[in-house]
Symmetry: D2
Subunit: 367 residues, 4 copies
């Protein structure tokens, strides 16, 4: 397979390149860039020297030369190439938000400020969260070329932590709250004040509170998972680290799953609460038992971004609050891998019939 | 005034020393340590060379030589010195949890695993959160020597963000959720795996989920602020930074203060929501207008720990979630200053009749 | 005294503002900016909220309203204001390189690519390294208004570590090598790829090897210190920290001061070498015994940037290599304080007859 | 091949495990630990969950079950297992210093404070720097089982930067100076004050100046490279990053290779100096052209630790000082990979006849 990457010089695109370079089924790479056309990727990313060598070409040339195309472009810029891929009959895996909302153009437009360029392309598109949509992806692929709307980094880490609670009827009424912290690579390659080392190192801060574009995307996914609307509150933060998203998720428990009444003072850890928690943890583990990239962590441990770095894993730890009424689920992903490039490759593997873990076998290091 | 510091070699104690060294009313320092008695503080903290010179003495000698005593000792270890100070008739400012629960020994014992040593000392004790208890502190001081139960770092940052909502009737039913991240100095001076650079740098992780001892303390303070029990969920995290606690707080709004119904999809920012938010922000600003260490930030900005570093400020930004039903308050403090040593000095200033900002005038730098 | 700061929104300028705000002799500040004229400093630096409030004015207005003017402008941009200050008869303290080369316009031009704007101003200028030039600064000030060429950050940290060896005849033949690492604030406030968090965090790299503009400045200062040319090699590095410069300096020892022959295998630590080192260390300590901002550290310890953070100290530790032929001196400064704004205020203190430590009394914290 | 790892729970041992887990020729792993015998590696390193599962056994069991043994033990502890491997006839790859000094027990004892346990084992031992000793390693392996004295992290990064200058007669008289900075993983897994996050983050400091044990090892390697003793000065630093060693190396040039006289003021960059530098760079590139893990970087760039992270590469950039008399070579390695575990696997590949890059193909990411 020859794989093409358009937008190869951005962080997400370069990460796709890095992963594909080690993919056993990928025989060649064709790289595209609008800003750096004619330059060489290994001179822009010196870390690639000696491993990856590639001239940056026009996006059209990438489509022409490839059997599958990844695009990591600004929202709205990739639709023409998606169209070209559909016409050519090859998959298009899109890391922007363009294909994450299916036919719901109104929501896309309300949050991204622009209409769809080619609305009809959504007939070929599917939201690429394999743990939710693997069957749908395969079904669509059986019918013709597919566009993957590769999920946003926050919606990936958050929804995977909430899915079992929704699917298994553990969640009660009230909003689900997602409080998440991202590493600075989430801001992309372009320097800016918020990502300037002296302004973001040694500090934690929220941003776009009540206004982040991943809110409607996550809301939409949760609705699919629950089969009904799920009230959602989402707050992103910037943390002084390179990679990773930690999502701490508060899910009101259904009465049957609580270990105590909501009222009253906080209670110290008890064996009763531990027992209730063990049950829930076991249900999470059972729910994900066949998923190659989900690790439900042992009791007594907590997810940490440092332990999934550069891997496609989503680590999940489950906890109870001191009143026993709220499930606290913590997930950790690498925002650049499971949150972007790795999940994109996972989608390629599904579309192309490769083993789903191909190219994604790296053992995460602790540091 | 001669000020004594027992437990001067721990991080919190050394921070009290650092601040007192620049206090205009403090003429001398007497330093105490059990572990390092006979050594010199400037050889343990080389950063003090040329500025602070002090032999570390026995705690008893500190009490004997001082007009006010600060203690930064393990929970349970300071009560004898508190007793000695009361007998001598001088204030005792305690940075442990020993005096944060007043007469509620049952809660203290349930969470800290030990009984009070001298229960009767609580008659002289008051919880030292000046923004809540300034009048009570002064009233108690008018009657005799006072023990200050200096608040925990997390309860300080969280409660200051919730207080106006509770006091002004903005909060509706449902639990208040506090999702907080602390710098690594919060773990103290003793090395341990969790604070070993390769294991905590470049990573974010929660700890003691549903089990942290600051939960009952914060619950108690919120109950006082509201005049009734407040359901509370609290999750602490460790972030790769030295100083600071960022608390992101979710407060369900009373119906009168909402800008929309709970149900329905997330709505993008609107002028109606902005107007509603402006009202709430103004009420926060009005509530704290005479407080020297609270900064309610301008609309459109968000609190960041990096901007309060080494100051006694608590920065507060107020936000609304996308459904308009939940108030999101973010506070930033320096965990070692407003969260520990600075607040202790603020309490000393109140007790001794000094200007409340004496010794705490430092302008925070951005980095 | 009313102090003016032109270029107040850059990192160095803002640091001057922060320090002056706590200076006991400064009654008021007038702030100037070309890029942000008409805006308010506390809205650009939110950390200043509640402590410093100031409208940013035109540079000319700053000169008109002030009794002393600091300028933190790009090289070449400040000369007109220096001229205006001289005409008005007030001191001008310049943080650019414009006045660091005295009459040696050729060297300035060769490295900075532009001629002097008003060459005659050098008659009023002096290189503001107080430990070297205190008497010269005072002498010039006795004759009229003075321009201070405030030293560069690297030359400050390096030259202070070399001065005693040169002045006391300890240095032998061969080049002095300065290998230095700076925090990222040294790159200034403007975002750029080199200072983008994901590209500089968790990494160390040299830059401008054999080409940094501080080389001729440092060479010049060493020549003055030695009374003859001193061969110099200087390599700067970027380290993932906010503040600080660590300079590791290799000085070939004069034969009389060596503890062994150059040839032969490395020798493990010996009491003979320790004795020789003690002598050298004592000479360093004696040399600087009256300097308020130099700390020659105790034997057995090493300078670290973390222990001078936000202070005007220059910490110095002295060591010998394993052959006993080379003195290794390590100095640590805060690049923004002793390396820029703090030293500028120190120079103001000298010029104005204030205590030299006024406004610079902060005790450095360990973290 | 079944590979055994003794000392598998330390950082270096765990890194060997991580790399071997992805090695195409390694069919199974046997893990040994003295401190954690009976526990499971994936519970100590949660990052291994789902990828590596292994009971920690006694070292003797590891030797018995393996076809090649790696040992990452304290100095002096591994000799019995080396002996057992020789008796069994299988390779022993030792990451301690025990086998780095060949028959020179005197130097080992002077610096490590203990004699050899089984001196005769040195007949089977070779210093495992493949770029220097590949032929020697193969020759010894042709005769029987081999012990690899795997090089120290600092000697690896430094010697690879100096080798071409020594071998090609570019170096003149005078000491070679190596100024190096290591990430904190170099201190190992055990927490200690020096590696406690609040004490080492945001700070740079040297340590063991004139006393580090890697000095005699590096001196010895340089002597072999030059065919004569090379005067050496070496200073290690701790930098606030996880992985990596940057070595900035000052090599006095032979007269034929200088671009100017030693005396005189620093000269700005010139085309003459650039030409001279280009020649030297080309010689470095030619010298290493067949080495799979050495990257001589393009002119105008500088080595950075961040670009070799988690790879076995040694990046090299070459520069000239402003006087043209000293070659400045900068090398970057990952201290845990090329500086320890990766080089150990590279040695295994050579010993076992596998492709030298097997298991070491990872493309380094930028972050």
């Amino acid at each position: 397979m020859i794989a093409g990457v358009i937008g190869a010089t951005g962080y997400a695109g370069a990460e796709v390149v890095r992963i594909l370079a080690g993919h056993p089924e990928v025989e060649g790479l064709v790289l595209g860039s609008v800003s750096y056309e004619g330059e060489r990727i290994e001179n822009i990313y010196l870390n690639f020297q000696g491993k990856i060598a590639g001239l940056l070409e026009k996006p059209e040339q990438v489509v022409a030369a490839s059997g599958v195309v990844f695009a990591a472009l600004p929202h709205g810029a990739g639709e023409p190439y998606a169209k070209a891929c559909m016409e050519k009959g090859i998959p298009f895996i899109d890391l922007s938000a363009d294909f994450r909302f299916d036919g719901d153009e109104a929501t896309f437009t309300a949050w991204y400020g622009k209409p769809y360029v080619h609305p009809e392309l959504r007939r070929n598109a599917v939201y690429g969260l394999p743990e939710l949509n693997r069957a749908a992806i395969k079904a669509l692929a059986a019918k013709g070329p597919v566009i993957i709307g590769n999920p946003g980094c926050y919606p990936t880490g958050a929804s995977l932590g909430i899915y079992p609670a929704l699917a298994k009827g553990m969640a009660g009424d009230g909003p689900v709250i997602v409080d998440a912290a991202s590493g600075v690579t989430g801001g992309g390659r372009e320097p800016g004040r918020a990502y300037h080392f002296p302004e973001c190192s040694d500090s934690v801060s929220p941003y776009k509170v009540g206004a982040h574009r991943h809110t409607p995307e996550l809301s939409r996914v949760l609705g699919v998972m629950a089969g009904k609307p799920v009230p959602l509150i989402f707050t992103p933060h910037l943390a002084p680290m390179n990679r990773g998203i930690l999502s701490t998720i508060y899910i009101p428990l259904d009465k049957a799953h609580r270990s105590g009444p909501a009222s009253g003072a906080p209670r110290p850890p008890s064996s009763e609460a531990e027992g209730k928690l063990r049950e829930i943890r076991d249900r999470y583990a059972a729910f994900y038992k066949d998923e190659p990239f989900i690790r439900v962590l042992p009791a007594g441990t907590a997810a940490a971004t440092g332990r999934v770095r550069r891997s496609n894993f989503c680590d999940i730890s489950v906890h109870l609050d001191t009143s026993g009424t709220t499930l606290i689920v913590v997930t950790a992903i690498d925002n650049m891998v499971k949150g972007a490039a790795g999940q994109a490759v996972q989608n390629m593997n599904i579309l192309c019939g490769y083993p789903e873990t191909a190219g994604l076998e790296a053992v995460p290091a602790l540091f």
